[in-house]
Amino acid sequence: MKSVTRSDIVQVKCKINGKEYTGVAEPRLLLVHFIRDELNLTGTHIGCDTGHCGACTIFMNGKTVKSCMVLAIQAQGADITTVEGLADGDKLHPIQEAFWENHGLQCGYCTPGMLISGLYLLQRNPDPTEDEIRRGIEGNLCRCTGYVNIVKSIKAAAKKMQSEGGKSAQQM
């Protein structure tokens, strides 16, 4: 195998959490590595490299993707939201508050992906049943909580978001 040379390196521009970023990436570089290592946004995590654990879930152009399943160069021009972009300054997003209040996390490693998938579900279905919540986060694995308090947190987030008129459910 031939190692990548400088000439193969591509400049990638994208918007993350409302801010324009420019970085360089080898064509083979995964988006998650680009976000973590090139742009230093380390809130997005890596747990499996095969698209199963969901720790790297982000919003890309309004939809959730597992950023270990996307190449950095595919994010050229994309509009991305990561966990760092959920809060509005010091004000936590209702889903972040709900996870905190309902002990929806222990080690916190799967949490960034879980928050994003939970929020995506609530954008499409503002008042999900327990079963719908479980299906909504099926692609995100957690080894600490047994999901009980995650389900509870997403339910609580739904209530919070409804009471503030769905403002925080707008497209990410």
Binding site: M1, K2, S3, V4, T5, E26, R28, L29, H33, R36, N40, L41, T42, G43, T44, H45, I46, G47, C48, D49, T50, H52, C53, V83, E84, L86, A87, L92, Q96, F99, W100, H103, L105, Q106, C107, G108, Y109, C110, T111, P112, L115, E130, I133, R134, R135, I137, E138, G139, N140, L141, C142, R143, C144, T145, G146, Y147, V148, N149, I150, V151
Partner: protein, 793 residues
Amino acid sequence: MGQPLKRKEDLRLVTGLGKFVDDVKLPGLAYASILRSPYANARIKKVDVSKAVVLLGVICALTGEEVAKLTDPFLQISPAPANKVKDYCLAVEKVHFVGEPVVAVVAETRGIAEDALELVNVEYEPLDHVLDARSALNPDATLVHEQVGSNLVFHGTWNYGDIEGALKEADKIVRAKLHFHRFSSTPIENNGVVVNYDRATGFLNIYCNNQMPMFCIPWLSFGLKFPSNRMRMITGDIGGGFGTKIISYPYIALICLLSMKAKRPVKWTEDRREHMFANHGNERSFDVEVPVKKDGTILGFKVDAYDDCGAYTRYEPAGATIWAQVSPGVYHFSNLKVDFFQVMTNKAPVGPNRGYSRMQHLWMIERSVDIVARELGLDPSEVRLKNYVRSDEMPYVTPSGGIYDGGNYAESLRKAMRLIDYDGLREEQERARKQGKMIGIGIATAVDSGTNNFGQVKILTDDNPFSGNSEAARVSIDGLGQFQVGLGTVPQGQGHETFAAQIVADEFGVSPDQIAVLMGFDSAINPYSHQSGSYASRSAVMGTGALLGASKKLKEKVSRIGAHLMKTKAEDIELKDGNAVDKVSGKKIPLRQIANVAWVNNLLLPEGMEPGLVATHYWKPNFTLPDKKWRLNQTLTYSYQTHIAAIELDPETGKFRILRYVIVDDCGRQINPMLVEGQVHGAAAHGIGAAMFENFEYDENGQLKSNTFIDYLVPSAIDMPHLITGHLVTPSLFAPMGIRGVGEGGGTPLGAISNAVEDALAPFGIEISDSHQNPQHIHKLIRDKVSKSKREN
């Protein structure tokens, strides 16, 4: 205390600001990648890294041959001759399991390091391998480590009471052959190590996610031949550990060597496949004989146990033998004989994993109790109620010297039966069977022991240099009256910052918000003992002991200064709402004024008093060494849980789903009920996952078949049932404040689910002998049974 306080840790974790090891970035950081063995057993004939090291961007490579020159083999804690195992951070001369590290490369990027591995040429001579503990004991078996002369790591006999007498006295002897499968808690964050060898100071600065970093120090220091006083261990947030991050010292040693060789800080982040190849829980098989009376009274247990620890011993056999913490489970019998064999095979080495070694033993007991019930035609709840240790027998001394520190097992079962509507379920089961539907109900009660006594390792060899347990805490008030707490306990999601703040706030009469608790662990900053860490459900108990000790020392000093300033007696001082109050006169002065005097206004201190407000305390429980019959109290606390699972099984496919799942736990007084509940849920999820989905399966060539999350199935939210929980609170008779360790859960779901599956299959008369309930396997059992009865008819 006792409040469901929101966790201090969570704000950073929900905003993406957690500090995990893979987030560590240092100037000049280089990246390591590891080439691993494709063979279960092979001689390494030649290693050629010449093409790899000339690849653009590669800094250096390291081979086993170099490692053997640079380091000593890691310490072994097995008795002779198994202590002749030579364990290095890279394979030397031979590989012993698929996935064993063989060569490491450091490069400017992880990608280049991985490219370089493809240019490494290793020639192997494949050898025969051995994959099963029992056949590994055959005299002509292939040897995993030839210099040991056998695959046996340890054989010990625990023999109490008169089991032969009990077997004679019995109305019936119930026999079973059982197998506990290989799995692991597989935290979502894999192992990671970043080492910066600082040539200016001669320090190895080690960032890692090891759960017991200071316990690793002897392994690292003797192995690397590097002075321990120049090794700094640092952890941050840890993305789940569950025991699997305890034996990562070979990786830490490897990255230390690479940083020294590369003269650069080096990062290694394990990928998921690497994790699956080298982090397993103990596999064990049992031959069981249970002498019983007709009325269901269990007279004893006679057990031969064969534990498969894989290719290296690491923390074994110290780990495997801790089953004896809970030797009779929750049952009252005094005749117990366990012949315990631990054996090496050409599979991945094992290590601690939530419920470590006790869950294998407890599953064997819980499975056997149900077989007893079935063979005697009794309800499993009846047999349990008849045999449980009673609450009026507490503290109860087990045959192996464990001292159960309170509890009411019968009440926990009754409560669980009420919560799940046991009688209603039995009726439903009856109706369902008439319609050809298969409902099964399974009960298990397990002891969830916590705070281990390392004195148990003296059973293996007298000169194993550790015993007891200890933990450290430091409480300080700075010159502005602000509190800071440092602990040795290396958390991985258990909320130590929160509970430590709760404990100290209560002691000083201030709010938990006023207490800053250091996150993670840093041996240059945090207080520690070499037994510090998060393992064996010990942190709440050990941390509390140390925090209370440090708080007491500091309170005494605060009171003495306060008394001096108010011209009263120290014993009349009470700390309340941030003030030192003289109970006699009602006069008060704020803590911050006392702090000011203690530090920078120190001419006002009582004469001869040392300035400063810092107290460190090292706490140890009252433990003893084993006696000649290996009896000792192996842990301080014995929480327990009863689980009941109701399932519906489809005989056409062997698949089943959980209809209802109930847990009743008792961990004594609860510091934070919200955290306790979270631990109970998590332990249940691990047990349910292990029972229904997770299995490390090897093929006949010793290749691990389930090596990613594609084939090693971790339960998702739709696989997990809703958990119905209830609590009992029986304060510990021995631990500080009556609290107990909680969190491992004793692997209780494995028993509840295998018992439920056998109960569902009762119309077929099928016995479940494995801890893993694989639908294909269940389907085969049904098919075999049906074709057998057709043949007989």
